[in-house]
C-alpha cells in the first residue's frame, strides 16, 4: 500500500512541534522554523497549516489560560499525535532510502 507523504513544510512544522514539547504554540513554532530554515512565516500561513495538520490528525491542540501580555488571548498549545509521529517516521524512512548510497551529491558536468 502506498503511503501518502506529508509535504516538506508540513514536515518542518511537525518537527518544530515535536522539538518544542510542551511549549509548542504560534510564536515559538514560528521562531523554531525561522531558526531551522531561515524563513519567516506569516502568522496567517502558519495558522492555516497548523489547522490543516490538526484536521488531518497529525497534531492535537488545547488552549492554555489566557495571559495579559497576549492581549487576553489564550495560547493554543500543539502536540504531535501518534499519527503525526508515524507520518514523520514514514517520510524519514522514505528519505533515507531515496538518499541511500549518495555520499556526495555530484552533478554530471557537460
Amino acid at each position: 500500500m502506498s503511503t501518502k507523504f506529508i509535504s516538506r513544510s508540513e514536515e518542518f512544522l511537525l518537527l518544530a512541534v515535536w522539538r518544542l514539547k510542551e511549549n509548542a504554540y504560534g510564536v515559538t513554532i514560528r521562531n523554531q522554523i525561522k531558526e531551522a530554515t531561515g524563513k519567516t512565516w506569516a502568522y496567517g500561513a502558519l495558522f492555516v497549516m497548523l489547522s490543516r495538520l490538526e484536521k488531518k490528525g497529525y497534531l492535537t491542540s488545547h488552549f492554555a489560560d489566557p495571559s495579559p501580555q497576549r492581549g487576553g488571548k489564550s495560547k493554543r498549545i500543539f502536540q504531535l499525535s501518534p499519527l503525526g509521529a508515524k507520518a514523520l517516521k514514514d517520510v524519514r524512512k522514505a528519505q533515507n532510502s531515496v538518499w541511500s548510497g549518495i555520499d556526495e551529491l555530484s552533478v554530471p558536468q557537460e
Binding site: Y25, G26, V27, R30, A42, Y43, G44, A45, L46, F47, V48, R52, F63, P66, P68, Q69, R70, G71, K73, S74, K75, R76
Partner: protein, 859 residues
C-alpha cells in the same frame, strides 16, 4: 514603552474575523505577543507596520484556504445541479420555459418603458426647456415669446414654433407633402441643440427665406448633390434657400422636425398679425437660465404680462391665471392638452404596463417556487444525507439558491434570444423602433443581469428555505412522503397565478368591448366609403369648383365636399359672443368651415331649420349651422335667425341646427360647435364613393388632381381609417393586454401541469389501492383535479372585483363608454377554468386509467 501596548485594533478585528479559532483566537494572541516584542525592539511604528503586514498576509492565506475547500463543494453542487436538470428534464424544461416566458415579457415591456421615459431627454438643455401653455390648450399667441424674454429675468431665450403639416414642398420635379414642416424662431436651433452637419445653427435661419433640412429630407430632394445654397419652393409660391443640414432628430422627441423656416416669415406670407394676442396657433418654448426656479418664473407671468393685457382689454380684477409652463421632458407622458403636436403617451399606461411586466414575472417566479417545492420531496434524501455528513443549513440554502440562479440565468439567455426574434413583431405592435443593443443600452443589460439574479434568488428562496429545513431523521427513515404543510402554500401560489391571469383576461375583454363599442356606436356621421385628401395649396383652392365637377363625372363618385376639418376631430376653436350675451363672457365654441355638400356627404341630420343651400343666395355672404349642444349652451329659445360673427369678422345668421354628432373622439363629451359656410378656404376634400370599382375610382381622382395641380403629390386616406387612428392607443392597449394575458395563462398552465404531474406521481400508490378497492376512474379523476380546480374558482372571486375596479377606472377616460357586463367575468373565469381543467385532466386521466398492478407491484 508600555508593556501592554495595544496593536492596531482594526487589524486585530480583521484577524479575529478571519480566524475565530473556536472563540479563542490564539493566532491573534501569538501576533500580539510578537508585536509587543517587536515594539520594544524596533519601535512602535515599525511594529504597527509589521502587524498590518501580517494582517494582509493572513488575509491572502485565509482566502486561499477557504477557496480550496469551497471549490470542492462547488464542484459537487454543480454536479448535483446538472444531474438534477438531466434527471428531471421534464420539470426542468417546464421551469425554464416558464421563467423564460416571464422574462421575455419583462424585457419587452422594460424596453418599451425605458424608451418612453427617454423622450425629449437627449437635448443638451433638456432640463431647462419649458413650454408655455394655456389652461388645457397648448397654443399660445405669437407676441407672448418676445414679451417673456423682455420682461422675465429667468428667461434665457425663447422660441416660437408653428407646425404646418401637409405642406407642399418642391424642388424641380420632386414634390412632396411634408408632414413635419415647422416655422421656428432662429433661436430654436440652438435651444433644442439641433445637431448641424452643414451650416451654422446660430445664423442659419436669420434670413427670412432660409430653410434648414434634416439629412434624410435633403437626400429626398437633392439626392447626393450638395443641398447648401439650393432652392426649395414651398406651397408653389415661396422660394427658400437651404442654409443648413442637420442630422435627423431622434424619434423619441415629442416632435420630429424635418424642415424648418423662420417663424416671422409665416406672418409675412400669410398676412397674419404677429402682434395679435388672439392668434393661437403656435407654441412657445422658453429656455430658463441655469439654476432658476421654474415655479418662480411661472409666478412672474401673471403680474408682468397677463395683468397689463387684462387691464388693456378692460377686464375687471381678479384676473384669471392664463399662462402656465410645463417642463419639456414631461410633455410626452404627462401632457394631455388640446392642440398637442402629436399623439402623446400617458404615464398611466406606463405604470400599467410596468405593473403587468412585474405581475408576469411574479407569476413566473411563483411557478418556479411551486414546481421546485413540489419536487423537493424527491430531493429529501439528498438533503438528509448532506445534513448527516455535516452540511449546515446555510450551505444547503446556498446550494439551492445557486441552483435556482443557474436556472434563472439559463432562462434569461433563452428569453433574450426569443426577444431578439420577437422584437420586430413587438415593434409593430407598439409602433416604436426598440432595439436590444448592449452597446447603446448598458443600463438595460445590467438591469437584465440583475433581473436574472433577483428572479433566481426570489424564486429560489422559498424552496431553499423549505428544503434546507428538512429533518434528516424523518427524511431518511422514509416516513416523509407527503407533506400537507407545503401543499397549502402551493395552492395559494396557484391561486395568485390564476387570479392575476383572470384579471388580465377581464381587462382584455373590457378593452375589446369598448373598442367594439367605439366602432359600432352611431357617431352621428357616416364613416364608410369616404376618401379624404389633404389640401393646402392655392392651385387646388382656386380651381375647386372645376375639380368638383371633374370628379363628379365618374359615376362611382357620389358627392364631393370641402371643409376645414373632418367631422371626427374638429380641433379649431374660438370663443364667440353674440347679441343678448354679456360680451365679457364669450362662449368657448369649436368651429368648422364647410361647403354646401358637407352635411349630406357625412350623413348628418338637420333637426331644425335647413342645411346651407344654393337656393338662398344670402348664404354666400355668411351662414351658420350650430349643433344642439351649442343651442343648449347659448340658451337660445329659437336659434334660427340668430346673428353670429365668424372669427375672421364675417357675420351671418344661423340657418339650421345639426343633430349632435361626436366632433371629437369618444373620450370627450359633445361640445358646442358652429359650422360656417366657406367654399374657398379648406384643408380637406372628402369624396363619397361607391363600393364598386374602388381602384378605378382612385385612379380617376388621382388623374383629376394631377390635371389641376400637376405638382400636387396625390395622397389620400379612407375616412374610416382616419377615424380609427384616433383610438390607436386603445387598440394598442387591447392587443398588448391580450398578448400578455395569453402569456400569463401559458405560464400558469405550465405550473399547473407540473403540479398535477407531481401530485399524481406522489399518489400513485394511493390511486392503485383505491382502484383495487373499487374506485372508478371518474372518481380518481375527480380526486386529482378537484383540488386545483377549487383554487382556480377561488381565484375568480379575487380577480373579479379587482378587474372591475381597474377597468371602471380606465373607462372613465371615455365620455361614452360601455358597462362591463357580467359576461366578461363569466367568460374570463370560464376560460381560465377550462384551460386549467384541460391541463389538469391530461395527467389526471393518465393516472386514473393506470393499471393498479403497475403501481403496486414494487411494494
Amino acid at each position: 514603552m508600555s508593556k501592554y501596548t495595544h496593536p492596531p485594533r482594526l487589524a486585530g478585528w480583521f484577524i479575529q474575523r478571519m480566524f475565530p479559532d473556536r472563540g479563542g483566537c490564539s493566532i491573534l494572541g501569538d501576533m500580539i505577543e510578537t508585536y509587543r516584542y517587536l515594539a520594544e525592539d524596533l519601535g512602535l511604528v515599525r511594529a504597527r507596520i509589521w502587524f498590518w503586514g501580517q494582517c494582509v498576509k493572513a488575509f491572502s492565506c485565509y482566502i486561499i484556504d477557504e477557496f480550496r475547500w469551497r471549490i470542492q463543494m462547488f464542484k459537487n453542487y454543480i454536479l448535483v445541479t446538472v444531474r438534477n436538470l438531466k434527471k428531471n428534464s421534464k420539470y426542468s424544461l417546464l421551469n425554464i420555459i416558464g421563467l423564460a416566458v416571464g422574462m421575455m415579457a419583462f424585457i419587452l415591456i422594460s424596453l418599451y418603458v425605458q424608451y418612453e421615459l427617454s423622450f425629449d431627454r437627449h437635448y443638451e438643455y433638456a432640463e431647462r426647456i419649458y413650454r408655455v401653455i394655456r389652461e388645457g390648450r397648448a397654443f399660445t399667441p405669437p407676441p407672448l415669446g418676445p414679451e417673456l424674454k423682455e420682461k422675465i429675468p429667468e428667461v434665457e431665450s425663447v422660441s416660437r414654433i408653428l407646425r404646418s403639416s401637409d405642406t407642399l414642398v418642391s424642388h424641380e420635379q420632386n414634390h412632396f407633402l411634408e408632414e413635419e414642416f415647422y416655422w421656428v424662431d432662429p433661436e430654436m436651433l440652438d435651444m433644442f441643440s439641433i445637431p448641424f452637419t452643414n451650416g451654422n445653427p446660430k445664423t442659419a435661419l436669420n434670413g427670412p427665406f432660409s430653410i434648414v433640412l434634416s439629412q434624410s429630407v435633403a437626400k429626398k430632394y437633392f439626392g447626393d448633390a450638395d443641398p447648401m445654397g439650393k432652392t426649395l419652393t414651398v406651397s408653389e409660391r415661396y422660394s427658400f434657400k437651404v442654409t443648413g443640414i442637420f442630422s435627423d432628430m431622434p424619434a423619441h422627441s415629442h416632435f420630429v422636425m424635418d424642415l424648418a423656416v423662420p417663424y416671422e416669415t409665416y406672418f409675412r406670407v400669410t398676412n397674419n398679425d404677429i402682434t395679435s394676442w388672439r392668434s393661437n396657433f403656435s407654441y412657445t418654448y422658453v429656455l430658463l437660465h441655469e439654476g432658476s426656479d421654474p415655479q418662480e418664473m411661472e409666478n412672474k407671468i401673471a403680474p408682468l404680462i397677463e395683468a397689463p393685457l387684462f387691464k388693456a382689454a378692460g377686464v375687471k380684477e381678479p384676473y384669471p391665471k392664463y399662462f402656465f409652463i410645463q417642463p419639456k421632458t414631461e410633455i410626452h407622458l404627462r401632457s394631455h392638452l388640446e392642440q398637442e403636436m402629436g399623439v402623446n403617451n400617458d404615464m398611466k399606461y406606463i405604470f400599467l404596463f410596468s405593473s403587468i411586466a412585474f405581475l408576469i414575472l411574479f407569476i413566473a417566479c411563483v411557478n418556479y417556487m411551486n414546481l421546485a417545492t413540489a419536487r423537493s420531496l424527491r430531493r429529501g434524501k439528498e438533503v438528509g444525507l448532506r445534513k448527516v455528513v455535516g452540511a449546515k443549513r446555510g450551505q444547503l440554502i446556498a446550494q439551492f439558491l445557486g441552483e435556482s440562479v443557474a436556472m434563472a440565468v439559463l432562462a434569461m439567455i433563452f428569453a433574450i434570444l426569443v426577444v431578439l426574434a420577437a422584437l420586430p413583431a413587438f415593434n409593430n405592435l407598439v409602433q416604436r423602433q426598440l432595439r436590444l443593443d448592449p452597446l447603446h443600452n448598458p443600463q438595460l443589460f445590467l438591469g437584465l443581469i440583475f433581473t436574472a439574479l433577483f428572479v433566481g434568488l426570489f424564486a429560489g428562496s422559498y424552496p431553499a428555505m423549505r428544503m434546507s429545513g428538512f429533518r434528516p431523521i424523518s427524511v431518511l427513515s422514509g416516513a416523509f412522503t407527503r407533506s400537507h404543510k407545503g401543499s397549502s402554500m402551493r395552492n395559494v401560489l396557484v391561486l395568485a397565478q390564476f387570479a392575476i391571469t383572470i384579471f388580465l383576461i377581464v381587462c382584455t375583454i373590457a378593452v375589446r368591448e369598448q373598442l367594439k363599442f367605439i366602432k359600432t356606436v352611431d357617431m352621428g356621421y357616416a364613416k364608410e366609403q369616404i376618401m379624404t385628401l389633404p389640401v393646402q395649396i392655392g392651385s387646388i383652392r382656386q380651381n375647386i369648383q372645376s375639380i368638383k365637377m371633374a370628379l363628379l363625372q365618374s359615376s362611382d363618385i357620389i358627392a364631393v365636399s370641402t371643409s376645414g376639418c373632418l367631422p371626427n376631430d374638429i380641433d379649431t376653436f374660438t370663443s364667440r359672443d353674440w347679441t343678448g350675451r354679456n360680451p365679457e363672457e364669450p362662449i368657448p365654441i369649436y368651429y368648422n368651415t364647410a361647403d354646401y355638400d358637407y352635411i349630406d356627404l357625412f350623413g348628418m341630420q338637420i333637426v331644425q331649420g335647413r342645411n346651407f343651400s344654393m337656393d338662398y343666395p344670402s348664404d354666400e355672404k355668411g351662414a351658420f349651422l350650430v349643433n344642439e349642444t351649442a343651442v343648449k349652451v347659448a340658451e337660445w329659445e329659437s336659434p334660427i335667425g340668430q346673428k353670429l360673427t365668424h372669427w375672421n369678422g364675417r357675420t351671418g345668421e344661423i340657418v339650421g341646427v345639426i343633430k349632435d354628432f361626436h366632433l371629437h373622439s369618444l373620450h370627450r363629451p359633445i361640445e358646442p360647435l358652429y359650422v360656417f359656410l366657406d367654399k374657398d378656404n379648406f384643408s380637406n376634400i372628402a369624396i363619397k364613393i361607391r363600393s364598386a370599382n374602388i381602384p378605378a375610382t382612385i385612379d380617376h381622382v388621382a388623374a383629376v388632381m394631377k390635371k389641376f395641380s400637376p405638382s400636387y403629390p396625390f395622397a389620400y386616406s379612407f375616412f374610416d381609417e382616419v377615424f380609427e387612428r384616433a383610438y390607436f392607443a386603445e387598440q394598442w392597449m387591447g392587443r398588448v393586454f391580450g398578448a400578455f394575458a395569453i402569456l400569463g395563462i401559458f405560464i400558469a398552465c405550465l405550473g399547473l401541469f407540473g403540479l398535477t404531474t407531481f401530485a399524481a406521481e406522489q399518489r400513485t400508490k394511493e390511486i392503485g389501492i383505491r382502484k383495487v378497492l373499487g374506485a372508478s376512474e371518474s372518481k380518481i379523476f375527480l380526486l386529482l383535479s378537484k383540488e386545483f380546480i377549487r383554487w382556480v374558482l377561488l381565484a375568480n372571486l379575487i380577480a373579479w372585483p379587482l378587474a372591475y375596479f381597474a377597468m371602471n377606472k380606465w373607462l372613465q377616460n371615455f365620455a361614452y363608454r360601455i358597462q362591463i357586463g357580467i359576461v366578461a367575468f363569466l367568460i374570463s373565469g370560464g376560460t381560465a377554468l377550462l384551460i386549467a381543467y384541460l391541463t389538469v385532466s391530461y395527467q389526471s386521466i393518465k393516472s386514473a386509467r393506470a393499471n393498479p398492478v403497475d403501481s403496486l407491484r414494487y411494494e
